[in-house]
């Protein structure tokens, strides 16, 4: 464990000896010890099937861990969740999808409308409020999905390979927009991915996982400039960081 995080920052989320074994006996991951500091951007990096998506669902409280404990040392924060697929309700408009969390939480209709509207504007979808998902491109659908997560004003944003199915330019522009949202809102993000470059570009910290059952193989803190943009991808610093992450991933699979 990287003690630095414990000393200088307040942990938002802490996993101690957490394991998950499915009913059919498949060991998904664990034991995993992990503390995530507030306003951190943590990538869980590993190959498909290493249990990182399962770990994310355990953190979200959607799956009960088989062993260990998931704790929120402060109060349980508002949690947002974004999946690999946009996972929108096809019968609802962009606005209808974005205001779902607020409606389920019983917010007043006008307030829900206004906040969902604002979230759509922030992800660059002003003017598409009344569009149905099938009328939107893959990238735009993912933006609706992010707006939906933002509408409930989360402090912890859990993302499960959200951009894996998108083409490269779309993914890069969503990466940059995500970083902006993260900075502006002071979010804590846990980002599951299998891409070395994506995790290096986005994260303040990359947690590398072993193949199933996934355990933490390496925990790498990155010193990327907070206002990094397209140009950062071409710097020697970025290359060096990516090389470090890539080597850790390689070592984890030996």
């Amino acid at each position: 464990m990287c003690t630095k995080w414990r000393v200088f920052m307040t942990a938002l989320l802490s996993l101690s000896h957490v394991t998950k074994t499915f009913d059919n006996g498949t060991e998904a991951f664990g034991p995993v010890d992990l503390e995530v500091a507030e306003k951190d951007f943590v990538s869980l990096l590993g190959p498909s099937g290493c249990g990182k998506s399962t770990a994310l669902r355990v953190m979200a409280g959607l799956l009960i861990p088989t062993g260990g404990a998931v704790k929120f040392p402060q109060a349980r924060p508002e949690v947002g969740l974004v999946f690999q697929e946009p996972t929108l309700m096809p019968w609802a408009t962009a606005l209808g999808n974005a205001r779902l969390p607020l409606e389920l939480k019983g917010a007043a209709r006008r307030e829900a409308e206004a906040r969902a509207q604002a979230a759509l504007v922030r992800v660059g979808l002003a003017g598409f409020e009344n569009a149905y998902p099938r009328e939107l491109s893959g990238g735009m659908k993912m933006r609706v999905s992010i707006a939906r997560a933002l509408a409930a004003a989360p402090r912890l944003l859990l993302m499960d390979e959200p951009f894996a199915a998108l083409d490269e330019p779309t993914r890069q522009s969503l990466n940059d927009d995500l970083l902006t949202l993260w900075r502006e809102d002071g979010l804590t993000v846990i980002f599951v991915t299998h891409s070395v470059f994506e995790s290096t570009y986005l994260s303040t910290r990359v947690v590398v996982m072993t193949p199933r059952p996934g355990r933490i193989a390496a925990d790498i803190a990155l010193e990327s400039p907070p206002d990094r943009g397209e140009a950062y991808r071409l710097t020697p610093e970025f290359s060096a960081a990516a090389a470090k992450v890539s080597k850790a991933l390689g070592d984890a699979h030996r």
Binding site: R57, A60, G61, L62, V79, L81, F83, E85, T87, M89, P90, W91, A92, L100, P101, L104, K105, Y132, P133, R134, A152
Partner: protein, 261 residues
Amino acid sequence: MNAVLKYALPSILGIAVLAIWEYLVRHFDIPPFVLPAPSAIGGALAENFTSLMASLWTTLRVTLEAFALAVAGGVALAVLFSQSKAIENALYPYAVVLQVTPVVAIAPLILIWVGFERINLALVIIAFIVAFFPILSNTTLGIRSTDHNLIDLFRLYGASRWQILRRLQLPSALPYLLGAMKISGGLALIGAVVAEFVAGSGTASGLAWHIVEAGNRLEIAKMFAALGLLAALGIAIFSALSLLEWGLLHRWHESALKKQG
């Protein structure tokens, strides 16, 4: 242009077939109790218009009542199944038994139980049995096909079972339900007609009764007229349900997108 052709072609074909039919009957002097000419069928329709329309209304009412019950009952049971695996396991085999037993074989029993003095109720029950199963099985499938990630999302935001059902599972099942309704609408009509046949003459007064009666008297033209009305009724039911499906799905569902493309 395409839209015009879509309706023009079958119309032209229909008129041509009727014309050839009329010509053949006249030319070969086919006796009317074997095959009446379209003009004779039209005559029979005009002659018996009042009684045929009364029968059409009877059959339509039985069909619609059975169909409405089938939709309400099928959806209600599917919802119950989605809430409890135990209930589904307990009841589903019996729903299947009801479905696979030929309705003609059950009909006499139902007629006896309900009684011939309440003949329309018996007809509705029989037609309901035929129409019920597609609604149940398709709606069950539709509810089960709900995106699991969306269910997770609803749970994350603290949705109740009722909210998940009403706002997520039922809308997900809607395309499946509408498809089943198009099948069940036709089945309800078939069920109503079969039930009338089983009930026999002297009790029921729907279109099937007209067909039996006319057959006994060798009034083949009248038979054809009743048959034509039955077909028209079936087409009307199917068209109405297709329109309903289009109205509810065309803005968001993939099936509508492909038609536009």
